[in-house]
């Protein structure tokens, strides 16, 4: 089975070369038969990669320690779920997952792209094939997961205990679906540049892919944040760690792309910019892969450092980013610029959104790369953390968030800012009320907290206003209103949901940072502690045995008003003997939207234990908002005009190219 997987991987590499070369020449010579090769090859390549992945996963599931990667990252005593998720809990396996998803997206284009113009489809598949070829070669040359050991060891070295968690089953696949999903937008852009033409229907094909990638990336980041929050035991949800930034930059750029693609689709303006943004977004995904996979950064994500890998990924990075930007420089002037619009209009608002988002991306990029560059040039080691981003990213985001509710209420081409403001009066009043209530009635609320809560409420109320205005609340009879509401395009709901989710996330962040409380103390069994109105009693430490670890479980009781226990929280110190590692399992109790968070420290000689407690009000909204944003993207995807096939049927009738060079 393992050799089959290895062989399938080599075959998939060979096919990706065919997928790159043959359709590209076909498109050049306008040869239908050569171009038609791309589709079946892409699908077969995906099938082979999937076979290869299944082979590796089954080696992990069966604890086949004759495979080096399994020996290094698995153990026979691990629960089955962690044996399987361990497949991508290491460098080699995660790269295989990366190409699996890449070929999956390629196969999707092949399967659903029958309505694309033949040359565009051929070129897209060729570019997709080229990315695949580079990464297959990378895996085979530097990170082969199928290398055997002889003699085979009897027992494995266990998966990093921090990764032995359900989060590993969800976070990396979602994140990769997002990262790699943007490869399709990249391939479409490069294909458009190769052809030297781009039109509004191009945007109609690219937008669904952007939405899909953005949706998964949002989910991947939110899940990663929640995982870090409960697993690391620090109680934080975002650390501005370079690895987090690596995923955040494509998200910011992808968000900008999502918005500029709307302008391009609806008004055929901002074409060249959208194209560039698509290239940049995937370039940032590649950069993220490089930062995480090359060993430049030390983190839980950098599984192993091998200089050859770093150099190889750097070459891939240079080839694709440099190549696509060079092509852009050569060809962009041949593309025609689109329609004009008034600065105060939907287009204008979306341009402003893009200006803020790309500048914010740039500040995150500087904050992430500057320390690396400085160390390479001068040897000085600096770290750039929250204080830097608070001062740069923060001021950029604030005006953008204030402006968000205006955008959807402005008309295309020429908008009326006064009318939009009047419609937002109710939302503004609600936000102002929230701000005043926070500032005046909540103890210890700072001006900053009040403004933050007000801004979050403004976003939520603004999103609801958008729906209300568009279904005619206040101007038509209720029956008509409901009919209109139900008949609104899905994309309008999508926009409102995504903006609402953003508001919820902001509300969670501001509430947690401003009103969260924290206590560090030593406790003995039987002692109680109070935190923000909640009384907790430390019951004691109880040793327990897990499948591949032993633990000391600290049990806490939540005491109700009556004095009797109403709930239990337990936090543990786990010891994994194979890797000689200790981990902290935090104890979390969700009360409404808020959480009590307990992290257990070391046991002192006198039997007392260091305990760190947090009260985190509305903290679940941080990730809940992310889910709402995902739902918004899913809603937009269901919009009639984006449904795969729907636009093209119309397009076939009018085959004449909309814009030619």
């Amino acid at each position: 089975m393992v050799e089959t997987g290895h062989f399938a991987l080599v075959l998939a590499f060979a096919l990706s070369l065919v997928q790159t070369i043959v359709p590209l020449f076909g498109a050049r010579l306008n040869n239908q038969r050569l171009m038609a090769v791309g589709g079946p090859v892409a699908v077969t390549g995906f099938a082979l990669t999937a076979l290869s992945f299944v082979a590796l996963a089954s080696a992990y599931a069966n604890s086949d320690f004759s495979v080096a990667s399994v020996w290094e990252n698995s153990h026979s005593l691990q629960p089955m779920i962690y044996k399987i998720t361990g497949t991508w809990g290491n460098h080699e396996g995660s790269m295989l997952l990366w190409v699996l998803i890449l070929t999956f997206f390629g196969a999707l284009v092949a399967a659903f792209g029958s309505n694309l113009p033949a040359t565009l489809r051929a070129n897209v598949l060729a570019v997709q094939g080229a990315i695949g070829a580079a990464f297959f070669l990378f895996i085979l040359a530097t990170s082969n997961p199928f290398i055997r050991l002889n003699p085979a060891p009897i027992e494995g070295r266990d998966l990093n205990p921090v990764l032995q968690d359900l989060g590993l089953a969800i976070h990396p696949p979602l994140l990769y679906l997002g990262y790699v999903g943007f490869s399709i937008c990249f391939s479409f852009s490069v294909a458009a540049l190769i052809e030297g033409r781009i039109d509004a229907s191009w945007a109609r094909w690219v937008r669904p892919w952007t939405l899909v990638a953005w949706m998964f990336l949002t989910g991947g980041i939110a899940m990663g944040s929640y995982w870090a929050y409960y697993e690391l035991g620090w109680g934080g949800f975002w650390f501005w760690d370079p690895v987090e930034n690596a995923s955040f930059m494509p998200w910011l750029a992808g968000t900008a792309l999502l918005h500029s693609a709307i302008v391009m689709e609806k008004r055929s303006a901002l074409k060249i910019w959208t194209l560039l943004l698509a290239i940049l977004t995937f370039s940032l995904s590649l950069l993220g892969t490089f930062l995480v996979r090359s060993g430049v950064l030390t983190s839980v994500h950098a599984f192993a450092t091998d200089p050859a890998r770093g150099v190889f990924i750097l070459c891939i990075l240079t080839l694709f980013i440099g190549g696509s930007l060079a092509l852009f420089a050569l060809r962009a002037s041949r593309l025609t610029a689109g329609g004009l619009f008034h600065p105060i209009s939907r287009e204008g608002a979306l341009v402003l959104n893009n200006l803020f988002l790309t500048t914010a991306t740039a500040t995150v990029l500087v904050g992430t790369l500057y320390p690396l560059a400085l160390e390479a040039l001068t040897g000085d080691k600096i770290s750039v953390g929250a204080p830097f981003f608070d001062l740069t990213f923060g001021p950029l985001m604030l005006p953008l968030l204030v402006l968000v509710p205006f955008g959807p209420l402005l008309a295309w081409k020429r908008g009326d800012i006064i009318a939009a403001s009047q419609r937002l009066m109710a939302a503004f009043a609600t936000a102002l009320a929230a701000m005043l209530v926070t500032g005046l009635f909540i103890d210890g609320a700072s001006v900053f907290a009040a403004l933050g809560i007000g801004l979050a409420v403004w976003l939520v109320a603004g999103a609801l206003t958008d729906l209300a205005v568009k279904s005619g609340v206040g101007s038509v009879a209720p029956a008509v209103m409901f009919r209109r509401f139900a008949g609104l395009p899905r994309s309008v709901f999508g926009t409102a949901l995504a903006h609402l989710g953003l508001g919820l996330t902001l509300l969670g962040i501001v509430a947690t940072l401003s009103f969260g409380t924290e206590k560090i103390l030593t406790m003995r069994a039987g002692e109680t502690v109070e935190l923000s109105g909640h009384t907790l009693r430390f019951v004691g430490l109880y040793p327990a045995q897990g499948p591949n670890y032993s633990e000391d479980r600290g049990r806490f009781e939540l005491i109700g008003i009556s004095g009797s226990p109403v709930g239990e929280i337990s936090s543990a110190k786990r010891f994994y003997p194979v890797r000689q590692t200790t981990t902290t399992e935090s104890g979390i109790k969700t009360l409404g939207l808020s959480q009590l968070y307990i992290s257990l420290g070391d046991e002192a000689k006198d039997g007392s234990v260091v305990v760190r407690l947090w009260w985190k009000p509305l903290v679940t909204l941080i990730w809940g908002g992310g889910l709402v944003m995902m739902a918004g993207a899913a809603m937009s995807l269901m919009d009639r005009r984006l449904r795969v096939g729907a636009p093209s049927r119309r397009r076939k009738q009018a085959e004449a190219p909309a814009v030619l060079p």
Binding site: L297, V366, S383, P387, D390, T522
Partner: protein, 147 residues
């Protein structure tokens, strides 16, 4: 305003915006980045009390003191010099004697480093990269030790 003037004003606005963002970024890099030092570097570098830095090295053997409550004292050493550090909170799971550690905080007026965060190496295979590089530069640690 003519169309040309309008376009120019939009471009000027955009450039002003980008300029402001760039200025802010560089100001923030100058003010908010924290430098990494090993104990021996501190004799040559001038670090003011209150200035935020990261201090890395090995946790010196036999110096870990658990005081009252959750405050812990220990010394960070690079085998040439060592610096006393206090920290209130829960130490990372991988915090041990003679292991690599990075602390972040600032010096108090009494010369004791008050850390508000302590990071230990992320897994059993390596030292924090900065500490490994620093120790290598001082010739007290070889790559071979890490396998």
């Amino acid at each position: 305003m003519t169309r040309k003037q309008k376009r120019l004003s939009v471009i000027a606005g955009g450039l002003t915006f980008l300029g402001a963002a760039t200025g802010l970024t560089f100001y923030a890099l100058g003010q908010k980045a924290s430098y990494f030092y090993m104990p021996a570097d501190l004799t040559t570098a001038s670090v003011q009390p209150g200035q935020r830095i990261r201090l890395g090295g090995l946790v010196e053997k036999g110096t870990i003191q658990r005081g009252q409550g959750a405050t812990v004292g220990f010394s960070v050493t690079d085998t040439h010099k060592s610096v006393k550090v206090t920290y209130t909170g829960i130490l990372p799971d991988l915090f041990r004697e003679e292991q690599g550690v990075i602390t972040e905080g600032s010096f108090g007026p009494d010369g004791v480093f008050v850390a508000d965060s302590v990071l230990a190496k992320h897994d059993e295979r390596y030292m924090p990269k900065e500490v490994a590089d620093g120790l290598k530069a001082k010739g007290v640690w070889q790559e071979s030790k890490s396998e």
